[in-house]
Symmetry: C2
Subunit: 344 residues, 2 copies
């Protein structure tokens, strides 16, 4: 347990230096003699001193608080994101404050800014699809609030994004379906206002085209990324095209909806219909049949984003460290497309 009664003054006294010097040591200022530094550091260890964040914050207008902004992000994956972010935060003396929001609200951006200034957040991590919001990013820049966006395309300076190449990943998915011999394929996209929905769809369709497979317009349906929406879209697709042998959905929740509908209609998956999703959330591996999908190391992405953000915050004056930030998602093949090892 930290000794809450020890302050910088005590340390200064014990070390026989001014508190300004102790402060320099704490903040890793280079302007401290080596011997002084060592002495101060050893005393800090001895008395188990740790500087008060509030006082530090008040004096330097920092808070050591990072915000996590999201809306509509896969609910089953957020925990992983949080774990990833928190691990880095804890290590570096920051705290993570969670901010689910309603990005459809008119006042959404203002609400975010209020939350940020209200708690003096030092910076924010933004999950998709909110991360695609240009107005938000612009507002944050204007407000001088450092941010890192997790996204599927790098539509911002490298230091501000962590991207996973979802387009490429979906090409892999397309290859998989081609290998399985599917010709009549249905596609349930996410809301097309989301950049990532378009990335995934275009990646998938363009790759199919390479193999001479064109997905008819009536075999594409825009969904809302929800389970219920998956059911509704699948119903429509299957009624319009009786010959579909595969349906790919923009995310696992909708794919689960497809499985549900198939089950209710007595369609066997994968024997009669192959199904795939995207996210590899907890549902994907537990549902029956288990779901072929695409996995992003989302906790690593979050950790990386946090790392980047803190770098940015701490090196406001020096140039920001550029961390590699291109993440490769990968295809996970499971029962829902595995016609070799038929389910049941």
């Amino acid at each position: 347990m930290q000794n809450k009664n020890i302050t910088i003054n005590d340390v200064a006294k014990l070390a026989g230096v001014s508190k300004r010097t102790v402060s320099r040591v704490i903040n890793r200022s280079p302007l401290v003699g080596e011997k002084t530094r060592e002495r101060v550091e050893s005393i800090i260890k001895d008395v188990n001193f740790s500087p008060d964040k509030q006082a530090r914050g008040l004096a330097s207008s920092k808070s050591y608080l990072l915000g996590l902004i999201y809306d509509n992000f896969d609910a089953l994956s957020i925990i992983q994101v949080q774990r990833g972010a928190i691990s880095v935060c804890t290590e570096l003396g920051y705290e993570l404050v969670v901010h689910p929001c309603e990005s459809s609200n008119d006042a959404f951006i203002e609400e975010c800014l209020n939350a940020i200034s209200g708690s003096k957040l030092d910076g924010v991590i933004i999950l998709p699809p909110v991360s695609e919001n240009k107005e938000l990013a612009a507002a944050l820049r204007e407000a001088n609030c450092p941010y890192v966006r997790i996204a599927s395309v790098d539509f911002d300076d490298t230091e501000n994004v962590v991207v996973s190449d979802e387009r490429e990943a979906m090409k892999g998915m397309a290859d998989h379906f081609v290998e399985l011999g599917h010709k009549e394929i249905g596609f349930i996209s996410g809301p097309l206002s989301f950049h990532s929905s378009r990335e995934r769809m275009e990646g998938f369709l363009s790759e199919l085209e390479k193999f001479g497979i064109t997905v008819a317009e009536e075999s594409i349906k825009e969904g809302k990324n929800s389970f219920e929406s998956g059911i509704a879209c699948a119903k429509e697709l299957l009624s319009k095209n009786k010959n579909l042998t595969a349906i790919i959905a923009n995310n696992d929740d909708m794919a689960a909806g497809v499985l549900r509908l198939a089950n209710d209609m007595g369609i066997d998956v994968p024997a009669q219909l192959s199904v795939a999703g995207f996210d590899d959330n907890l549902l994907a591996s537990r549902i029956i049949p288990s779901l072929t999908t695409i996995n992003r190391p989302i906790n690593n992405m979050a950790a990386l984003a946090t790392q980047k953000l803190i770098n940015k915050i701490q090196s406001e004056n020096s140039l920001p460290l550029t961390l590699n930030s291109e993440i490769k998602p990968k295809l996970i093949i499971r029962e829902s497309t595995d016609t070799m090892k038929e389910n049941k």
Copy 2:
């Protein structure tokens, strides 16, 4: 957007009072003349002043930060808990800081205390099963850190817990299985070191006894609350007792494991085997067959706990407001036990 440049001094000047008086207004001290209060309040509104949390905290040793401590809590439900807690936090000017932890670590309690003192958390909300940890509660009391535990039994002062009567809920589950005519029932408990596991099991078994149904010892298996554990336990139960017509698991994850095993063994659920879980997490409604389970309004519980915690923090000297805090979980019947409307 809040005006970050306005301080208590500005307000004081504008209102023609001392900042001490403004401070009194902010903190709802009764020692302010009515007219003065009104004037100050209107100015606060006009200039959109909101006191700086850090400065407030530094001066009063508060942080306006609440912690959420958990480990092993159903991953698919944590989001709801967070939403519930955050809604109250935001409303009351607090911020929620998330603290997943490893309660099996030796240093676990110390780590919690460190996190609390390190960020000067004003109080913490503890989810089960960590909430059952007596040592942690004792340590928190000793450290003078207000807390509220979410639990299945009220093993603490009413002001410190929000309970849901899981024993009672499991009786309802037992009634349901009796109605379905099951005689040979298997039970997969949670770790028996968890109070809630015992509550659920005892509630279930005792109710069955009332109907003259005794579950044989070999039909009870202690699980670990994970999907994999559900599979393993189900396998063992089914191999020991071929006549089982129902398996109830301590949570949805394990029940999902049972469904998985049944599927792999070609056992039809619910025609040949009825299955039920506990939690009503996102998986329960999406899995096939959908899962009969027990729903707790966990977001409300979290909101209530937050409410209670803040009450406690703010009325440290006055007597704490006693909010009602007994929550009734309810049985949700779905396909996995619905033999009338057989699945498929």
